[in-house]
């Protein structure tokens, strides 16, 4: 994989992730829907798996987390921007670790169950890590200070709310793996670069225009 092509991929998928966190996440919250679980299962996990399928390069999703987190800093909605940005970056890190440990063996005949299982575990863990990081950092960056007892008391609620993210991940993973046939290295440069840079610029423009 050409490095320049990979960086363009990190930029576009990170921007799409950041855009979805800022714009779609706010819309879901305003609609009273469980935004955190939907955002993690569909967008964070979904985009990270899609990009991993397309580019097949380790470390890319951490880069996407950095881009998405940076874009989140511009978002006018929500409380602690820096906390959310760091939580997104942490989600990228946990994806890298879990993918290394859990990515399924595609040659197995019962691959659908394996992919679904991987989706359940990864989506759930990404959700829990993102949630806990936000719960720790928000008080740290405010004038109220962090108190561990507040986090411990809320752990059952966090573990319970992650169930929806797990179910979504279990459905998303086998669906996304169907895209495995697409080979990004075969996409022509004159189409690839304008498309990736154009989509990235559009995501950033929409988020910044909403501040």
């Amino acid at each position: 994989m050409e490095k320049r092509k990979l960086f363009a991929g990190i930029l576009v998928f990170g921007s799409l992730w950041g855009f979805s966190e800022c714009i779609i996440g706010s819309m879901l919250r305003n609609a009273g829907l469980p935004a955190g679980a939907i955002m993690t299962g569909v967008f964070a996990f979904g985009l990270m798996v899609i990009s991993r399928m397309f580019y097949k390069t380790g470390g890319m999703q951490f880069g996407m987390g950095l881009v998405a987190g940076a874009l989140r800093l511009f978002n006018p909605f929500g409380g602690c921007h820096i906390c959310s940005a760091i939580a997104i970056m942490a989600e990228g890190v946990i994806f890298e670790i879990l993918w290394y440990k859990l990515s399924p063996d595609f040659e197995e005949s019962d691959a659908l169950l394996n992919k679904s299982s991987m989706g359940i575990v990864m989506s759930y863990c990404i959700y829990i890590v993102g949630y806990v990081v936000t719960q720790i950092l928000t008080p740290v960056f405010s004038s109220a200070d962090f108190h561990i007892e507040n986090l411990i008391a809320f752990i059952p609620q966090i573990l319970a709310s992650g169930l929806l993210a797990a179910v979504i991940g279990g459905i998303m993973a086998p669906t996304i793996f169907l895209l495995n046939i697409i080979d990004i290295t075969k996409v022509r440069n004159r189409l690839y670069y304008p498309a990736t840079i154009g989509v990235s610029a559009l995501c950033w423009w929409i988020v910044i225009a909403n501040t």
Partner: protein, 129 residues
Amino acid sequence: MEKNKLNLILAIIVILVGIGSSVYVQATKIDSKHIIVNGKDYTIDQLFDISEEKTYETYSGIALDNLIVKTGVEDPEIHEFIIIGADGYQKTVKWENMSNGLLTKDGESIFSDLPKAFIVKDIVEIKVD
């Protein structure tokens, strides 16, 4: 252990943890129309009767600092306050935060100087630490 077997076992554990936690959360959820402030039981109407009204942006309610004073807490500035919701969500705040906070009629805490994560819904207790 091979990855595929590990994935399946972990997925089952995740589902069980999620279901178990959901059951626990529902079982321990406090269904109360009262709020305990510093160990004393009040209805939301009683608290609204004794405390000063306050507004912040689109929110209106009673001032949390005034509520603490009116409920008889001495030297409030030396204490921290743990605000606990019916679902177990709790946040610890300082007196300076309480001075910028209000309690809405729906039993929600709103702080003008703290992020939205400090909104505790369906408050059932305010502990004085």
